[in-house]
Each structure stands twice: as C-alpha cells, then as structure tokens.
Symmetry: C2
Subunit: 201 residues, 2 copies
C-alpha cells in the first residue's frame, strides 16, 4: 500500500503522542503543517524551542514561570498565609481564571496512587511539608479532585500536618450547579447530603 | 488576571492556528509539551524541521514526496493512461487507502471558487491541461467533492478538454452506503435518481 513520505510519517507519529490526538487528527495536522509556509513553521518551531528553554517550575510553589519565582508568588498583594494545594498546573490556571482566590498555591507533582504507581515521595510531599513549616501558614485548602487518588493524597498530607496548628480545608464536593440529582452516583449524593449547608447561617 | 508565562502563551497561540484546535485544546497541548522531557520536544522539533525541508510536491502530479517524483508516479505497474484528478493531497491519500485505483493522480491546488476567491490559474489548470496533452491519456476521472466549487471546477476543466478525444468521468454522487434516504437533501436525491444504475447490466 502507498504510504506517506518518511518525514511526514514521522511527524504524524510525533503528533499522535500528544494528548487527545488520534491517527486521523495527526494526519490532518501534519498535512496542514506541510502546506504552511516556512515562516509559519519556523514560528511554531521557535515557540517549542522557547518553551523548552525558558519555562520551568517556580522554586516556591511549582507553578510554571520563566523566572525563578512565578507571578503569583511574586505578587505582594496576595495572602501568604493561605496555600491552595493543587495536583497540577492546569488546575492552578483553572482556579486563577475565577479570580476569587487571593492566596498562594502549591503544585504537587501529581497524586498518590494507592495501587502503587505513584508514591508520596514522587509527588513532592517533603517539599510541601517543608514549605508549610517554614512559612507562617494559617490555612491549607486542598483543591484536589475527589477521586481515589485525590482522597488518598489529602488523607496522607492531612496526617503529616495534624500537629502543626493549621486550619486544613478542602473544596466542597456535591452536585454541580445546574446538575440534576438523578444523574449523579450514590457516593456523590451521600457526600452532598452529609456536607449539607445550613441555609440559616 | 494572572496569565501564562509569555513563551507558553505564544506556543498556545501557535497551536491555535492549527486546524480544529481551539483555545482549550491548545492550552492542554501546550501544558503537555511543557511537561515533556527535552528529548521528546527535540524529536517533535526535528520532525517539523524535516517536513519543512524535505517534503515538496511531485513534479508530475503534485502529490507529496521527498524526491522529485512521488512513489505513485514512479510505480511502473500503474496505468499511465488513467489520471484521477483530486482537489488536495488528503483526498489522494484517502483514495490510495482503498487500494482499488491503479492509475495515476493529478492534485489540483484547490478548487475554483465562483465567488472569485480562487481563479482557474490559481489552482494549476494550465499545468494540468499541459500534462494531459503531453501524456497519452485515455481517461480522466474527477474524484472531486460534489460541492458548488467542485462542480464549477469539473465543468471548467471538462470544457478545456472536450476536443481532446479523452474519456472524462466523475465519481458517482448519491446516497452513502448505509444512509437513510430521508436524511439527504433534495439535490442529492435528485442526483441519485437521475444517475440510477441499471441492475440488469
């Protein structure tokens, strides 16, 4: 069977490794890239080089930055006594979009996996606990997905901090706004019932 | 509002220019790329460089190739007297996947647009007619989408070839296999009726 020229096939293979890009999408992207003029391809290549060379993790919180310290940690107007713990940078950016949280963040290197694929030392637990002890932190908010891995991670970190005299909270789990009760699973419903809010204050 | 580091934002912008990649997909891809190790990013960059430097159009048919002449045109087992005209390389590859057509191709640079955005000289009409006259062609098959632009292009090319003593055909239009009549438009149905096939030969 006739196939793509070798270099085009290799590009398709590279693109397929990206998240949610299947074979067909990769082919369409590769054919589009072939049709791009040199200047546009060069811009794309330059962007990849720049990201590779300039972007790294913030020394304090693990957010992405081109400097030693990220814009959030640099911002003197933000409350240093509250740290919001997230599982990755994507979730940090999602929360920042809300423009409601004015504390600082701590980005873990993923979540502890009870099945043993991710151990506590792999997600940067020591660095986090070290930071909490060093800084004058009053509250830790876990903004971590309520999955098995998320719950395990929260439980593990909570145990390590229980003697530190810090308020430890987690974002609420329950029925999403606009959601219909009948479509949600028993665990979500049970949690929503148990963590019900007193409407009279 | 807090935003991405500059180089990451630029990469998101570059990725957004690719087909069917929206802002959210571009962000997810960019964050994935940031997390990739240097070797993987380098492989991606190298693939882009290779495609940019090595891939160009076949001198005969316009297919993509790393050589002067593409693998289809080089293949001595293919019938040189039949040329299948397609609107782009994607459609050539789609037809090759079928492994039924054993002639050669001619890839146009798009289709004539009656609204004036694409004129006949922009889609390489002269090159095509020149080729047809030079080679000993017996049949031209239009495998072109039955859109307004496609019909215009076929009509235009047919007029230019009408005195050349060449059989000129087009792929059938009608109801797709597995399709239900009620879901197709009047023009498709009319065409399917008009171009009905005699089952008794």
């Amino acid at each position: 069977m006739y196939s793509y020229p070798e270099s085009l096939e290799l590009l398709v293979e590279q693109l397929r490794k990206l998240p949610s890009i299947g074979r067909k999408s990769a082919q369409r992207l590769a054919l589009h890239i072939v049709e791009m003029n040199d200047e546009k391809i060069n811009n794309l290549i330059q962007s990849l080089e720049d990201v590779k060379n300039k972007i790294h993790s913030c020394e304090i919180c693990g957010n992405l930055t081109e400097d030693d310290i990220c814009d959030v940690c640099k911002d003197e107007n933000r409350d240093k006594s509250i740290i919001c713990v997230v599982e990755d940078v994507t979730n940090l950016l999602t929360l920042e979009r809300l423009e409601t949280f004015r504390g600082r963040y701590h980005v873990l290197d993923g979540l502890i996996s009870p099945s043993g694929n991710m151990m506590p030392d792999e997600i940067g637990v020591d660095k986090f606990i070290g930071r909490v002890k060093k800084e004058n932190v009053k509250e830790i908010i876990f903004a971590i997905s309520p999955t098995v891995e998320g719950e395990t991670t929260m439980l593990f970190l909570k145990e390590l901090m229980k003697d530190l005299d810090i308020k430890i909270t987690r974002i609420a789990s329950g029925i999403p706004v606009g959601g219909n009760l009948e479509y949600y699973d028993d665990i979500t419903l049970s949690k929503a019932m148990k963590e019900r809010i007193n409407l009279l204050g």
